[in-house]
Amino acid sequence: MPLMKPRHDILNDLRRLRVEKAGLTQQQLADLAGVTRQTILSIEKGKYSPTVGLALRLARILGVTVEDLFSLSPGESHE
């Protein structure tokens, strides 16, 4: 979806950590983070890059660091 494509490709491991580490549904994580399920879905699908505040909240809820959750794509990492 070109209109929503971020300038930099940001990879995320949110879905795996949400399911495997925290055992949460999208709705549960959304409720804990104070956002809608659509926002969680969009982040997991790489359609939306969250603000720093939301990234920090998600990391705290899942008990990981922001770097565990998000990273730049390989092409961006060395810039």
């Binding site: 979806m1 070109p2 209109l3 929503m4 879905r15 949400r18 399911v19 949460l24 549904t25 999208q26 709705q27 959304a30 409720d31 104070g34 956002v35 809608t36 399920r37 659509q38 926002t39 969680i40 879905l41 969009s42 997991e44 699908k45 359609k47 939306y48 969250p50 603000t51 505040g53 939301l54 909240r57």
Partner: protein
Amino acid sequence: MNEPIRNRRLSPVTLIAAVLVTAGFALTAVSWGFLVLAAVGAFGPGILRELGWVRDKDELQMQAAYRAGYHAYLAGGLVAMLLIARVRSSAADLSLSDELGTAILSVMWFTWLISSLHAYWGGYRTAQRILIIFGSVWLLFNILGNLQGGVTALLMQSLLAVPFFALAWLARRWPRPAGVLLLGTAAFCGYFFHLYEVFGADPFSRGRIEVAVLFMGPLLACGLMLLADRDSAGDGVEGGLQA
């Protein structure tokens, strides 16, 4: 930390706004003064959110709202400038009547609506649902318009809605061909309903611009979304992976 956002489809503010807009437009039959109600419903919630007095959207929804607003500004501004240039440079005596304002508003609102739906559902799902709504509205008007014309006329007229439902079905399976067909259908509608006359001597005659937006707009928008979106199948709140 932000206030928790309740996961409702529509917040109370949005519902109240929808009621005000609907009532405002309906009551214009009584007096055009009631258009103020529609204006309050259409723009009030956004103003309250910007003032920070209402917090019913999360950051993704606010970003979608900002994007839709920007798209509406681009489309509305462009159309406004083109129309003003057309009117002021015309040798004919075209008046800057309220038709100009209505035309610009219709383009602005249509763009805002499509952009908002696109952000919420993604391109493919938005196109499918717009087509179903378009076909349903067409069917409803045909039924209402032919209630006294006999069963045969009713059935024949209702068949006109079938292509839209067929295109919605096609868009789900083969989005690209469906996109091409939609652009073709939009061109056919433009020819069939003489909507190309919007570029003629009097673009405001009989609400041509509004009719063009209402008839060709959804078809063009759906066609372009199906052709332009590369990976939006499964987007949107209902396409989620519920673990």
